[in-house]
Protein backbone atom coordinates (compact mmCIF):
# COMPACT_ATOMS: atom_id res chain seq x y z
CA UNK A 1 0.00 0.00 0.00
CA UNK A 2 1.12 3.50 -0.70
CA UNK A 3 2.48 5.49 2.25
CA UNK A 4 1.25 8.74 0.80
CA UNK A 5 -1.77 9.02 -1.41
CA UNK A 6 -2.87 12.42 -2.67
CA UNK A 7 -6.03 12.81 -4.70
CA UNK A 8 -7.21 15.92 -6.54
CA UNK A 9 -5.38 18.25 -4.18
CA UNK A 10 -6.05 21.91 -4.96
CA UNK A 11 -5.63 25.22 -3.26
CA UNK A 12 -6.25 28.70 -4.53
CA UNK A 13 -5.25 32.00 -2.98
CA UNK A 14 -7.85 34.45 -4.22
CA UNK A 15 -8.00 33.74 -7.94
CA UNK A 16 -4.60 32.08 -8.13
CA UNK A 17 -4.61 28.30 -8.41
CA UNK A 18 -1.34 27.68 -6.60
CA UNK A 19 -1.86 23.92 -6.77
CA UNK A 20 -4.42 22.50 -9.12
CA UNK A 21 -5.61 18.89 -9.19
CA UNK A 22 -2.41 17.37 -7.81
CA UNK A 23 -2.34 13.57 -7.66
CA UNK A 24 0.45 11.37 -6.45
CA UNK A 25 0.93 8.00 -4.85
CA UNK A 26 4.21 7.18 -3.15
CA UNK A 27 5.14 3.61 -2.25
CA UNK A 28 6.82 2.70 1.00
CA UNK A 29 10.59 3.12 0.94
CA UNK A 30 10.56 5.26 -2.17
CA UNK A 31 12.80 8.28 -2.67
CA UNK A 32 10.46 10.56 -4.52
CA UNK A 33 11.36 13.89 -6.10
CA UNK A 34 9.17 16.92 -6.67
CA UNK A 35 10.67 19.37 -9.13
CA UNK A 36 9.58 22.35 -11.17
CA UNK A 37 10.50 25.93 -11.93
CA UNK A 38 10.34 28.65 -9.28
CA UNK A 39 6.78 29.40 -8.23
CA UNK A 40 5.46 26.09 -9.55
CA UNK A 41 3.84 25.32 -6.21
CA UNK A 42 6.25 22.78 -4.76
CA UNK A 43 6.56 24.30 -1.31
CA UNK A 44 2.81 24.91 -1.31
CA UNK A 45 2.35 21.15 -1.71
CA UNK A 46 4.57 20.66 1.36
CA UNK A 47 2.59 23.23 3.30
CA UNK A 48 -0.63 21.45 2.37
CA UNK A 49 0.83 18.11 3.40
CA UNK A 50 1.89 19.44 6.80
CA UNK A 51 -1.29 21.32 7.59
CA UNK A 52 0.13 24.84 7.27
CA UNK A 53 -2.50 25.48 4.58
CA UNK A 54 -5.86 23.79 4.35
CA UNK A 55 -6.63 22.52 0.85
CA UNK A 56 -9.67 23.90 -0.98
CA UNK A 57 -10.20 20.47 -2.48
CA UNK A 58 -8.76 16.98 -2.36
CA UNK A 59 -7.79 14.26 0.05
CA UNK A 60 -4.41 13.40 1.57
CA UNK A 61 -3.99 9.90 2.96
CA UNK A 62 -1.09 8.69 5.05
CA UNK A 63 -0.98 4.89 5.21
CA UNK A 64 -4.65 4.92 4.29
CA UNK A 65 -5.68 7.34 7.06
CA UNK A 66 -7.17 10.66 6.03
CA UNK A 67 -5.02 13.54 7.31
CA UNK A 68 -6.55 16.28 5.18
CA UNK A 69 -7.05 19.54 7.03
CA UNK A 70 -5.55 18.35 10.31
CA UNK A 71 -3.26 20.64 12.30
CA UNK A 72 0.50 20.65 11.85
CA UNK A 73 0.93 19.08 15.26
CA UNK A 74 -1.52 16.24 14.59
CA UNK A 75 0.03 15.55 11.20
CA UNK A 76 3.47 15.34 12.78
CA UNK A 77 2.13 12.91 15.35
CA UNK A 78 0.63 10.87 12.51
CA UNK A 79 4.13 10.47 11.10
CA UNK A 80 5.06 13.30 8.76
CA UNK A 81 8.18 15.35 9.45
CA UNK A 82 9.71 18.07 7.34
CA UNK A 83 12.62 20.42 6.84
CA UNK A 84 12.39 23.97 5.54
CA UNK A 85 13.70 25.76 2.49
CA UNK A 86 15.04 28.59 4.65
CA UNK A 87 16.57 26.84 7.64
CA UNK A 88 14.42 27.00 10.75
CA UNK A 89 16.51 25.74 13.64
CA UNK A 90 16.15 26.61 17.30
CA UNK A 91 19.21 28.83 17.21
CA UNK A 92 19.35 29.58 20.91
CA UNK A 93 19.36 25.88 21.84
CA UNK A 94 22.27 23.46 21.63
CA UNK A 95 22.52 20.97 18.80
CA UNK A 96 21.62 18.24 21.28
CA UNK A 97 18.57 20.12 22.54
CA UNK A 98 17.37 20.71 18.98
CA UNK A 99 17.19 16.96 18.49
CA UNK A 100 15.72 16.39 21.95
CA UNK A 101 12.97 18.87 21.13
CA UNK A 102 12.10 16.52 18.28
CA UNK A 103 11.51 13.74 20.83
CA UNK A 104 8.92 15.90 22.58
CA UNK A 105 6.01 13.54 21.97
CA UNK A 106 7.99 10.33 22.35
CA UNK A 107 9.60 10.71 25.75
CA UNK A 108 7.09 12.42 27.95
CA UNK A 109 7.18 13.50 31.56
CA UNK A 110 5.10 16.06 33.35
CA UNK A 111 6.07 19.64 34.09
CA UNK A 112 6.09 18.82 37.80
CA UNK A 113 8.53 15.95 37.47
CA UNK A 114 10.64 18.40 35.50
CA UNK A 115 10.58 21.03 38.22
CA UNK A 116 10.97 18.66 41.17
CA UNK A 117 13.58 16.49 39.46
CA UNK A 118 11.62 13.27 39.93
CA UNK A 119 13.23 9.98 38.82
CA UNK A 120 11.06 9.85 35.70
CA UNK A 121 12.68 13.02 34.43
CA UNK A 122 16.16 11.52 34.69
CA UNK A 123 15.09 8.29 33.01
CA UNK A 124 13.45 10.08 30.12
CA UNK A 125 16.27 12.58 29.71
CA UNK A 126 18.83 9.77 29.67
CA UNK A 127 16.96 7.79 27.02
CA UNK A 128 16.48 10.98 25.02
CA UNK A 129 20.19 11.79 25.27
CA UNK A 130 21.17 8.34 24.07
CA UNK A 131 18.76 8.32 21.16
CA UNK A 132 19.72 11.86 20.19
CA UNK A 133 23.40 11.00 20.12
CA UNK A 134 22.62 8.00 17.89
CA UNK A 135 20.84 10.26 15.44
CA UNK A 136 23.55 12.92 15.61
CA UNK A 137 26.12 10.24 14.83
CA UNK A 138 24.30 9.35 11.62
CA UNK A 139 24.64 12.97 10.53
CA UNK A 140 28.19 13.27 11.84
CA UNK A 141 27.18 15.98 14.29
CA UNK A 142 27.98 14.32 17.60
CA UNK A 143 31.12 16.37 18.15
CA UNK A 144 29.05 19.56 17.88
CA UNK A 145 26.36 18.34 20.31
CA UNK A 146 27.14 21.02 22.90
CA UNK A 147 27.30 23.96 20.49
CA UNK A 148 24.49 26.39 19.89
CA UNK A 149 22.68 25.47 16.70
CA UNK A 150 23.01 29.03 15.39
CA UNK A 151 26.81 28.74 15.50
CA UNK A 152 27.01 25.74 13.16
CA UNK A 153 28.25 26.23 9.61
CA UNK A 154 25.56 26.26 6.96
CA UNK A 155 25.88 22.69 5.69
CA UNK A 156 25.69 21.29 9.21
CA UNK A 157 22.63 23.39 9.99
CA UNK A 158 20.88 21.73 7.04
CA UNK A 159 21.87 18.32 8.38
CA UNK A 160 20.73 19.19 11.88
CA UNK A 161 17.31 20.09 10.53
CA UNK A 162 17.00 16.60 9.07
CA UNK A 163 18.28 15.11 12.34
CA UNK A 164 15.62 17.01 14.29
CA UNK A 165 12.91 15.82 11.91
CA UNK A 166 14.16 12.24 12.34
CA UNK A 167 13.72 12.49 16.10
CA UNK A 168 9.96 12.70 15.65
CA UNK A 169 10.16 9.15 14.25
CA UNK A 170 8.36 9.88 10.98
CA UNK A 171 7.13 7.44 8.37
CA UNK A 172 7.32 10.08 5.71
CA UNK A 173 10.07 12.70 5.56
CA UNK A 174 9.64 15.85 3.49
CA UNK A 175 12.85 17.63 2.51
CA UNK A 176 12.50 21.12 1.06
CA UNK A 177 15.61 21.84 -1.04
CA UNK A 178 18.06 20.02 1.23
CA UNK A 179 21.03 20.85 -1.04
CA UNK A 180 20.31 24.56 -1.43
CA UNK A 181 23.48 26.56 -0.94
CA UNK A 182 25.74 23.51 -0.72
CA UNK A 183 28.88 23.01 -2.79
CA UNK A 184 29.23 19.88 -4.98
CA UNK A 185 31.18 18.01 -2.31
CA UNK A 186 28.62 18.73 0.36
CA UNK A 187 25.82 17.77 -2.03
CA UNK A 188 27.46 14.44 -2.79
CA UNK A 189 27.84 13.78 0.92
CA UNK A 190 24.23 14.79 1.52
CA UNK A 191 23.05 12.34 -1.14
CA UNK A 192 24.82 9.54 0.68
CA UNK A 193 23.26 10.64 3.97
CA UNK A 194 19.75 10.80 2.53
CA UNK A 195 20.10 7.33 1.06
CA UNK A 196 21.51 6.00 4.31
CA UNK A 197 18.73 7.60 6.36
CA UNK A 198 16.09 6.07 4.09
CA UNK A 199 17.56 2.57 4.49
CA UNK A 200 18.56 2.86 8.14
CA UNK A 201 15.28 4.29 9.44
CA UNK A 202 13.04 2.47 6.98
CA UNK A 203 11.63 5.73 5.63
CA UNK A 204 9.80 7.11 2.69
CA UNK A 205 11.21 10.42 1.48
CA UNK A 206 9.66 13.12 -0.64
CA UNK A 207 12.04 15.90 -1.61
CA UNK A 208 11.96 19.17 -3.46
CA UNK A 209 15.17 20.01 -5.23
CA UNK A 210 16.63 22.17 -7.96
CA UNK A 211 19.98 20.44 -8.11
CA UNK A 212 19.51 18.09 -11.08
CA UNK A 213 22.55 16.05 -10.15
CA UNK A 214 21.00 15.22 -6.81
CA UNK A 215 17.57 14.58 -8.30
CA UNK A 216 18.81 12.24 -11.04
CA UNK A 217 21.27 10.68 -8.59
CA UNK A 218 18.92 9.57 -5.84
CA UNK A 219 15.28 10.01 -6.80
CA UNK A 220 13.60 6.88 -8.03
CA UNK A 221 10.45 8.58 -9.19
CA UNK A 222 9.58 12.16 -10.01
CA UNK A 223 6.72 14.55 -10.39
CA UNK A 224 7.26 17.75 -12.32
CA UNK A 225 5.05 20.70 -11.41
CA UNK A 226 4.51 23.73 -13.59
CA UNK A 227 2.12 26.56 -12.74
CA UNK A 228 0.54 24.40 -10.04
CA UNK A 229 -0.24 21.55 -12.41
CA UNK A 230 1.44 18.19 -12.90
CA UNK A 231 3.48 18.26 -16.07
CA UNK A 232 4.94 14.79 -15.94
CA UNK A 233 5.11 11.89 -13.52
CA UNK A 234 6.93 8.57 -13.39
CA UNK A 235 10.36 6.96 -13.27
CA UNK A 236 13.15 9.52 -13.03
CA UNK A 237 14.93 8.65 -16.26
CA UNK A 238 11.72 8.66 -18.29
CA UNK A 239 10.50 11.96 -16.83
CA UNK A 240 13.79 13.75 -17.34
CA UNK A 241 13.89 12.77 -21.01
CA UNK A 242 10.31 13.89 -21.62
CA UNK A 243 10.52 16.69 -24.23
CA UNK A 244 7.80 18.72 -22.48
CA UNK A 245 9.73 18.68 -19.22
CA UNK A 246 12.90 19.67 -21.00
CA UNK A 247 11.32 22.73 -22.58
CA UNK A 248 9.36 23.81 -19.50
CA UNK A 249 11.97 23.27 -16.88
CA UNK A 250 15.41 22.33 -17.98
CA UNK A 251 15.45 24.75 -20.88
CA UNK A 252 15.77 23.70 -24.50
Amino acid sequence: MAVLDINHLSISFGGLHAVDDFNVSIEKGCLYGLIGPNGAGKTTVFNLLTGVYKPTEGIIRLNGADITGKSTIEINKAGVARTFQNIRLFKGLTVLDNVKAGFHNHYQYSVLSGIFLLPRKRQMENSMNERSMEILKVFDLEREAGLLAGNLPYGKQRKLEIARAMATEPKLLLLDEPAAGMNPNETAELMETIRFVRDHFDLTILLIEHDMKLVSGICEELTVLNFGRVLAQGKTAAVLSDPEVITAYLGA
Binding site: S71, L89, G102, I115
Partner: protein, 363 residues
Protein backbone atom coordinates in the same frame (compact mmCIF):
# COMPACT_ATOMS: atom_id res chain seq x y z
CA UNK B 1 30.75 -0.70 26.06
CA UNK B 2 32.28 0.04 22.68
CA UNK B 3 34.27 3.04 21.61
CA UNK B 4 31.58 5.19 20.01
CA UNK B 5 29.35 4.82 23.04
CA UNK B 6 32.20 5.80 25.29
CA UNK B 7 32.85 8.85 23.14
CA UNK B 8 29.17 9.82 23.14
CA UNK B 9 28.92 9.43 26.90
CA UNK B 10 31.94 11.65 27.31
CA UNK B 11 30.30 14.40 25.24
CA UNK B 12 27.01 14.01 27.09
CA UNK B 13 28.80 14.20 30.42
CA UNK B 14 30.52 17.42 29.39
CA UNK B 15 27.24 19.00 28.35
CA UNK B 16 25.52 17.90 31.56
CA UNK B 17 28.34 19.14 33.76
CA UNK B 18 28.31 22.51 32.06
CA UNK B 19 24.57 22.76 32.65
CA UNK B 20 24.87 21.72 36.30
CA UNK B 21 27.69 24.17 36.91
CA UNK B 22 25.66 26.94 35.36
CA UNK B 23 22.71 26.20 37.65
CA UNK B 24 24.92 25.83 40.73
CA UNK B 25 26.72 29.15 40.17
CA UNK B 26 23.41 30.99 40.38
CA UNK B 27 22.50 29.41 43.72
CA UNK B 28 25.98 30.03 45.09
CA UNK B 29 25.85 33.64 43.97
CA UNK B 30 22.57 34.26 45.79
CA UNK B 31 23.73 32.51 48.94
CA UNK B 32 27.04 34.39 48.90
CA UNK B 33 25.31 37.74 48.57
CA UNK B 34 22.98 36.75 51.41
CA UNK B 35 25.91 35.77 53.62
CA UNK B 36 27.74 39.03 52.96
CA UNK B 37 24.69 41.22 53.57
CA UNK B 38 23.68 39.25 56.65
CA UNK B 39 27.23 39.64 57.94
CA UNK B 40 27.05 43.39 57.46
CA UNK B 41 23.70 43.52 59.21
CA UNK B 42 24.87 41.59 62.29
CA UNK B 43 28.07 43.60 62.61
CA UNK B 44 26.02 46.76 62.28
CA UNK B 45 27.85 48.03 59.21
CA UNK B 46 24.73 48.84 57.29
CA UNK B 47 22.57 51.94 57.44
CA UNK B 48 18.94 51.74 58.44
CA UNK B 49 18.01 53.05 55.03
CA UNK B 50 19.65 50.09 53.34
CA UNK B 51 18.23 47.69 55.91
CA UNK B 52 14.81 48.92 54.90
CA UNK B 53 15.27 47.93 51.27
CA UNK B 54 16.55 44.40 51.87
CA UNK B 55 13.13 42.78 51.55
CA UNK B 56 11.96 44.98 48.65
CA UNK B 57 15.16 43.96 46.84
CA UNK B 58 14.16 40.31 47.25
CA UNK B 59 10.71 41.22 45.92
CA UNK B 60 12.23 42.79 42.82
CA UNK B 61 14.66 39.93 42.31
CA UNK B 62 11.80 37.42 42.33
CA UNK B 63 9.73 39.62 40.01
CA UNK B 64 12.65 40.03 37.61
CA UNK B 65 13.42 36.29 37.47
CA UNK B 66 9.78 35.46 36.86
CA UNK B 67 9.38 38.09 34.16
CA UNK B 68 12.52 36.77 32.52
CA UNK B 69 10.72 33.46 32.11
CA UNK B 70 8.19 35.18 29.85
CA UNK B 71 10.39 37.77 28.16
CA UNK B 72 13.63 35.84 27.89
CA UNK B 73 12.61 32.20 27.58
CA UNK B 74 9.14 32.36 26.13
CA UNK B 75 10.07 35.38 24.01
CA UNK B 76 6.93 37.43 24.61
CA UNK B 77 7.00 41.00 25.83
CA UNK B 78 4.72 41.41 28.84
CA UNK B 79 4.14 44.83 30.39
CA UNK B 80 1.60 43.80 33.02
CA UNK B 81 3.79 42.09 35.57
CA UNK B 82 2.88 44.52 38.36
CA UNK B 83 -0.75 43.44 37.95
CA UNK B 84 0.09 39.90 39.02
CA UNK B 85 2.20 41.16 41.90
CA UNK B 86 -0.79 43.26 42.91
CA UNK B 87 -3.07 40.22 42.96
CA UNK B 88 -0.59 38.23 45.01
CA UNK B 89 -0.20 41.11 47.46
CA UNK B 90 -3.93 41.69 47.92
CA UNK B 91 -5.05 38.07 48.16
CA UNK B 92 -2.29 37.17 50.60
CA UNK B 93 -2.86 40.36 52.59
CA UNK B 94 -6.59 39.67 52.74
CA UNK B 95 -5.94 36.14 53.93
CA UNK B 96 -3.49 37.15 56.65
CA UNK B 97 -5.76 39.86 57.96
CA UNK B 98 -8.89 37.71 57.79
CA UNK B 99 -7.27 34.86 59.68
CA UNK B 100 -5.57 37.23 62.11
CA UNK B 101 -4.42 35.36 65.19
CA UNK B 102 -6.36 32.24 64.25
CA UNK B 103 -3.21 30.54 63.05
CA UNK B 104 0.41 30.65 64.26
CA UNK B 105 2.40 33.42 62.55
CA UNK B 106 4.80 31.31 60.52
CA UNK B 107 2.17 28.93 59.20
CA UNK B 108 -0.22 31.76 58.34
CA UNK B 109 2.49 33.56 56.40
CA UNK B 110 3.35 30.37 54.55
CA UNK B 111 -0.29 29.88 53.57
CA UNK B 112 -0.57 33.55 52.60
CA UNK B 113 2.35 33.19 50.18
CA UNK B 114 0.86 30.04 48.68
CA UNK B 115 -2.52 31.75 48.28
CA UNK B 116 -0.95 34.84 46.72
CA UNK B 117 0.92 32.72 44.20
CA UNK B 118 -2.10 30.54 43.49
CA UNK B 119 -4.48 33.42 42.78
CA UNK B 120 -1.95 35.30 40.67
CA UNK B 121 -1.32 32.08 38.74
CA UNK B 122 -5.03 31.54 38.11
CA UNK B 123 -5.53 35.13 36.96
CA UNK B 124 -2.39 34.82 34.83
CA UNK B 125 -3.81 31.77 33.13
CA UNK B 126 -7.22 33.34 32.55
CA UNK B 127 -5.61 36.43 31.04
CA UNK B 128 -3.09 34.36 29.12
CA UNK B 129 -5.69 32.29 27.27
CA UNK B 130 -6.98 35.19 25.15
CA UNK B 131 -3.89 37.39 25.27
CA UNK B 132 -1.30 34.85 24.10
CA UNK B 133 -3.05 34.61 20.74
CA UNK B 134 -1.47 37.97 20.05
CA UNK B 135 2.15 38.51 19.14
CA UNK B 136 4.82 41.11 19.67
CA UNK B 137 3.71 44.70 20.15
CA UNK B 138 0.04 43.78 20.40
CA UNK B 139 0.71 41.38 23.23
CA UNK B 140 2.74 44.05 25.03
CA UNK B 141 -0.06 46.58 24.75
CA UNK B 142 -2.76 44.18 25.92
CA UNK B 143 -0.73 42.94 28.90
CA UNK B 144 -0.14 46.57 29.81
CA UNK B 145 -3.88 47.16 29.68
CA UNK B 146 -4.64 44.12 31.82
CA UNK B 147 -2.12 45.25 34.40
CA UNK B 148 -3.94 48.57 34.69
CA UNK B 149 -7.36 46.87 34.70
CA UNK B 150 -6.38 44.67 37.63
CA UNK B 151 -5.10 47.69 39.53
CA UNK B 152 -8.21 49.77 38.85
CA UNK B 153 -10.61 46.95 39.68
CA UNK B 154 -8.95 46.39 43.04
CA UNK B 155 -9.19 50.12 43.62
CA UNK B 156 -12.97 49.96 44.01
CA UNK B 157 -13.18 46.72 45.95
CA UNK B 158 -14.44 46.83 49.53
CA UNK B 159 -14.37 43.62 51.50
CA UNK B 160 -15.06 42.83 55.10
CA UNK B 161 -15.48 39.90 57.41
CA UNK B 162 -17.90 39.20 60.22
CA UNK B 163 -19.52 36.17 61.82
CA UNK B 164 -21.80 35.73 58.78
CA UNK B 165 -18.87 35.45 56.38
CA UNK B 166 -17.19 37.61 53.80
CA UNK B 167 -18.94 40.78 52.58
CA UNK B 168 -18.24 42.42 49.27
CA UNK B 169 -19.09 45.81 47.81
CA UNK B 170 -17.87 48.13 45.09
CA UNK B 171 -19.38 51.31 46.58
CA UNK B 172 -18.07 52.04 50.06
CA UNK B 173 -17.21 50.32 53.29
CA UNK B 174 -20.60 51.45 54.65
CA UNK B 175 -22.33 49.31 52.04
CA UNK B 176 -20.68 46.18 53.37
CA UNK B 177 -23.34 45.97 56.07
CA UNK B 178 -20.96 44.52 58.61
CA UNK B 179 -22.18 43.51 62.05
CA UNK B 180 -20.69 45.40 64.93
CA UNK B 181 -17.41 43.64 65.65
CA UNK B 182 -16.91 42.74 62.00
CA UNK B 183 -13.69 43.98 60.46
CA UNK B 184 -13.15 45.91 57.25
CA UNK B 185 -10.30 44.36 55.34
CA UNK B 186 -10.04 45.93 51.90
CA UNK B 187 -11.14 49.54 51.81
CA UNK B 188 -11.17 50.58 48.17
CA UNK B 189 -8.48 53.06 47.27
CA UNK B 190 -7.15 52.93 50.84
CA UNK B 191 -6.32 49.28 50.29
CA UNK B 192 -5.43 47.02 53.19
CA UNK B 193 -3.79 48.34 56.32
CA UNK B 194 -2.15 46.61 59.25
CA UNK B 195 -1.12 43.44 57.48
CA UNK B 196 1.13 41.50 59.86
CA UNK B 197 4.75 42.27 58.98
CA UNK B 198 6.04 38.75 58.67
CA UNK B 199 8.54 39.27 55.87
CA UNK B 200 12.18 39.13 56.79
CA UNK B 201 15.32 39.24 54.69
CA UNK B 202 15.95 35.55 55.33
CA UNK B 203 12.47 34.57 54.18
CA UNK B 204 12.92 36.81 51.15
CA UNK B 205 16.13 35.05 50.18
CA UNK B 206 14.52 31.65 50.71
CA UNK B 207 11.75 32.68 48.31
CA UNK B 208 14.37 33.85 45.82
CA UNK B 209 15.94 30.39 46.03
CA UNK B 210 12.53 28.74 45.60
CA UNK B 211 11.95 30.89 42.51
CA UNK B 212 15.35 29.96 41.14
CA UNK B 213 14.68 26.29 41.80
CA UNK B 214 11.38 26.39 39.92
CA UNK B 215 12.57 28.51 36.99
CA UNK B 216 15.94 26.84 36.46
CA UNK B 217 14.57 23.31 36.66
CA UNK B 218 11.69 24.25 34.41
CA UNK B 219 13.86 25.65 31.64
CA UNK B 220 16.17 22.66 31.80
CA UNK B 221 13.35 20.19 31.30
CA UNK B 222 11.21 18.95 28.44
CA UNK B 223 8.77 21.80 29.01
CA UNK B 224 11.59 24.34 28.99
CA UNK B 225 12.89 23.03 25.70
CA UNK B 226 9.40 23.31 24.28
CA UNK B 227 9.09 26.90 25.56
CA UNK B 228 12.43 27.95 24.11
CA UNK B 229 11.93 26.16 20.80
CA UNK B 230 8.65 28.03 20.43
CA UNK B 231 10.52 31.27 21.05
CA UNK B 232 13.23 30.48 18.50
CA UNK B 233 10.94 29.29 15.74
CA UNK B 234 7.24 28.81 16.15
CA UNK B 235 6.67 27.16 12.76
CA UNK B 236 9.46 24.66 13.26
CA UNK B 237 8.23 23.88 16.79
CA UNK B 238 4.78 23.04 15.42
CA UNK B 239 6.32 20.95 12.66
CA UNK B 240 7.88 18.64 15.25
CA UNK B 241 4.63 18.31 17.16
CA UNK B 242 5.06 20.80 20.02
CA UNK B 243 1.75 22.37 21.10
CA UNK B 244 3.03 25.92 20.99
CA UNK B 245 0.17 27.76 22.67
CA UNK B 246 0.02 25.36 25.60
CA UNK B 247 3.64 25.94 26.50
CA UNK B 248 3.45 29.69 26.05
CA UNK B 249 0.49 29.67 28.43
CA UNK B 250 2.37 27.54 30.90
CA UNK B 251 5.34 29.90 31.01
CA UNK B 252 2.97 32.84 31.43
CA UNK B 253 1.08 31.14 34.27
CA UNK B 254 4.19 30.09 36.18
CA UNK B 255 5.58 33.58 35.76
CA UNK B 256 2.36 35.15 37.08
CA UNK B 257 2.32 32.80 40.08
CA UNK B 258 5.89 33.70 40.99
CA UNK B 259 5.06 37.38 40.62
CA UNK B 260 2.18 36.75 43.02
CA UNK B 261 4.65 35.29 45.47
CA UNK B 262 6.77 38.43 45.18
CA UNK B 263 3.62 40.48 45.81
CA UNK B 264 2.84 38.48 48.95
CA UNK B 265 6.34 39.08 50.26
CA UNK B 266 5.92 42.77 49.55
CA UNK B 267 2.55 43.01 51.27
CA UNK B 268 3.86 41.43 54.46
CA UNK B 269 6.84 43.74 54.50
CA UNK B 270 5.26 47.17 54.38
CA UNK B 271 2.05 46.18 56.14
CA UNK B 272 0.02 48.87 54.41
CA UNK B 273 -1.09 48.15 50.91
CA UNK B 274 -2.74 50.14 48.17
CA UNK B 275 -2.91 49.69 44.45
CA UNK B 276 -1.11 52.87 43.44
CA UNK B 277 2.25 51.20 44.01
CA UNK B 278 1.51 48.49 41.44
CA UNK B 279 1.20 50.72 38.43
CA UNK B 280 2.72 50.84 35.01
CA UNK B 281 5.99 52.17 36.42
CA UNK B 282 6.57 49.06 38.45
CA UNK B 283 6.00 46.80 35.43
CA UNK B 284 8.49 48.87 33.47
CA UNK B 285 10.98 48.87 36.34
CA UNK B 286 10.91 45.07 36.49
CA UNK B 287 11.26 44.92 32.72
CA UNK B 288 14.26 47.24 32.97
CA UNK B 289 15.90 44.78 35.37
CA UNK B 290 15.32 41.96 32.90
CA UNK B 291 16.54 43.87 29.87
CA UNK B 292 19.60 45.33 31.56
CA UNK B 293 20.54 42.02 33.12
CA UNK B 294 20.39 40.45 29.70
CA UNK B 295 17.25 38.93 28.26
CA UNK B 296 17.24 35.22 29.04
CA UNK B 297 20.02 35.59 31.58
CA UNK B 298 18.83 34.72 35.09
CA UNK B 299 21.96 35.79 36.95
CA UNK B 300 21.86 39.07 35.07
CA UNK B 301 18.27 39.68 36.21
CA UNK B 302 19.27 39.10 39.82
CA UNK B 303 22.27 41.40 39.70
CA UNK B 304 20.41 44.13 37.81
CA UNK B 305 17.54 44.03 40.32
CA UNK B 306 19.93 44.27 43.26
CA UNK B 307 22.11 47.04 41.85
CA UNK B 308 19.28 49.16 40.54
CA UNK B 309 17.26 48.85 43.77
CA UNK B 310 20.17 49.49 46.12
CA UNK B 311 21.92 52.19 44.14
CA UNK B 312 19.36 55.00 44.37
CA UNK B 313 19.34 54.55 48.15
CA UNK B 314 23.10 54.43 48.44
CA UNK B 315 23.45 57.56 46.34
CA UNK B 316 21.03 59.54 48.45
CA UNK B 317 23.97 61.44 49.98
CA UNK B 318 24.89 62.84 46.59
CA UNK B 319 21.41 64.34 46.24
CA UNK B 320 21.61 66.33 42.99
CA UNK B 321 23.84 63.89 41.14
CA UNK B 322 21.83 60.85 42.15
CA UNK B 323 19.70 60.50 39.05
CA UNK B 324 22.62 61.43 36.81
CA UNK B 325 24.71 58.55 38.10
CA UNK B 326 21.72 56.24 37.91
CA UNK B 327 21.19 57.15 34.26
CA UNK B 328 24.85 56.65 33.37
CA UNK B 329 24.74 53.27 35.08
CA UNK B 330 21.65 52.26 33.09
CA UNK B 331 23.47 53.06 29.85
CA UNK B 332 26.58 51.22 30.97
CA UNK B 333 24.57 48.13 31.84
CA UNK B 334 22.83 48.27 28.51
CA UNK B 335 26.19 48.20 26.75
CA UNK B 336 27.84 45.59 28.89
CA UNK B 337 25.31 42.88 29.47
CA UNK B 338 25.44 39.43 27.93
CA UNK B 339 22.35 39.43 25.78
CA UNK B 340 23.12 38.12 22.28
CA UNK B 341 22.08 41.45 20.76
CA UNK B 342 24.43 43.34 23.07
CA UNK B 343 27.25 40.94 22.21
CA UNK B 344 26.62 41.52 18.51
CA UNK B 345 26.58 45.27 19.09
CA UNK B 346 29.94 45.17 20.83
CA UNK B 347 31.29 43.05 18.00
CA UNK B 348 30.18 45.66 15.46
CA UNK B 349 31.71 48.50 17.45
CA UNK B 350 35.01 46.65 17.78
CA UNK B 351 35.20 46.15 14.03
CA UNK B 352 34.94 49.88 13.46
CA UNK B 353 37.63 50.83 15.95
CA UNK B 354 41.04 51.19 14.30
CA UNK B 355 42.78 49.33 17.11
CA UNK B 356 39.94 46.89 17.65
CA UNK B 357 39.88 43.19 16.97
CA UNK B 358 38.89 42.27 13.45
CA UNK B 359 35.89 40.11 12.90
CA UNK B 360 36.71 36.46 12.48
CA UNK B 361 36.17 35.09 8.99
CA UNK B 362 33.01 33.01 8.86
CA UNK B 363 33.28 29.79 6.93
Amino acid sequence: MNKTEEYQNEILKKIKNKERLNIAITYVMVIAIYAIVQGLVTTGNISNLLKGILVPTCVYVIAAISLNLVVGFSGELSLGHAGFMCIGAFTSGFFSKAVGDGLPDGFRFFLAIVIGALFAGIVGMLIGIPVLRLKGDYLAIVTLAFGEIIKNLLNVVYMGLDSRGIHFSTKSSMDLGLESGGKKIIEGALGISKIPKNSTFTIGVILVLVTLFIVQNLIHSRAGRAIMSTRDNRIAAESIGIPVTRFKLMAFTVSAALAGMAGALYAHNIGKLNTSKFDYNMSILVLVFVVLGGIGNIRGSILAAIILTALPEMLRGLSDYRMLIYAVLLIAMMLFNWAPAALAFRERVREKLPFGRKKKEVE
